[in-house]
Amino acid sequence: MKKPSLTILRVGLGITFLWIGILILKQPEAWAGYISPWAEKLLPLPVEEAMLGTAILDIVIGALLVLDLVVWLAALLAALHLIIVLVVSGITDITVRDIAILAAAIALMADSLPKKFITKIMSWQKQEKPKNNNS
């Protein structure tokens, strides 16, 4: 088992996404109210269908996190999803909560990135340093 703190963060975040997905499935039209009018106009499909898609995405992210499967990808999707939510819903009473969830998703993603990916970044950084020194 990884650090207990990360496990708690992963399961907690997973439950949050699963539950929000279920609540959106229950009343997609109510959740559509959070989308700003300008963003609604950009949607290529009816807003309720878009909300159903969001619900399924939330449930998939939540399930991956709870089941401890491809956590880095689930956390990345969660972070991107929350950035979109923050952009399309504007500043509301619950914005601060979305920021907290976004921070949690980024923290989880940073800690669960595959070793190969981290090694690649490290080797890339090492290659960049001499170039910078020469210039």
Partner: protein
């Protein structure tokens, strides 16, 4: 609604815990044992299976069923009365089985397993929530 949210949360915690134990079992590794120190003894005892099915798999199935029923009840998937009845039946039966396993740890195996106790408390808490509700 609040009760269902709590039941869903508890079942998701149970899913996460049983998945961890199943993974460790498949990898033939010992799970970490934060409190008690008797996890390996309990999990490898003859009581770790009901017939041929390991308890962690049975637990996972029970928690998954709980989570799905809670979700169905929130979304309003019919037949609601049946889901409600089945949820109570499942939590009731699981509570009794958890009671039996806790007794076995205490009196028969003489070792305490952190994960088994956590699962038992999760189920009992679910039972208390249903009773209060």
């Amino acid at each position: 609604m609040t009760a269902l949210a709590l039941l869903f949360t508890l079942s998701a915690i149970g899913i996460s815990e049983t998945v961890y134990l199943i993974r460790k079992h498949l990898a033939a590794e010992k799970p970490i044992c934060p409190i008690g120190g008797g996890c390996a003894v309990v999990l490898s005892s003859r009581y770790s299976k009901i017939f041929i099915v390991p308890n962690d798999i049975l637990g996972l199935l029970a928690y998954l069923t709980m989570a799905f029923i809670a979700a169905f009840l929130v979304i309003g998937v019919a037949p609601l009365q049946w889901w409600n009845f089945f949820l109570k039946l499942l939590v009731g039966a699981s509570s009794l089985i958890s009671l039996l396993f806790t007794y076995l740890q205490w009196r028969v195996i003489h070792a305490w397993c952190f994960w088994c106790l956590m699962s038992a408390f999760t189920i009992w808490l679910s039972g208390i929530i249903i009773l209060i509700n």
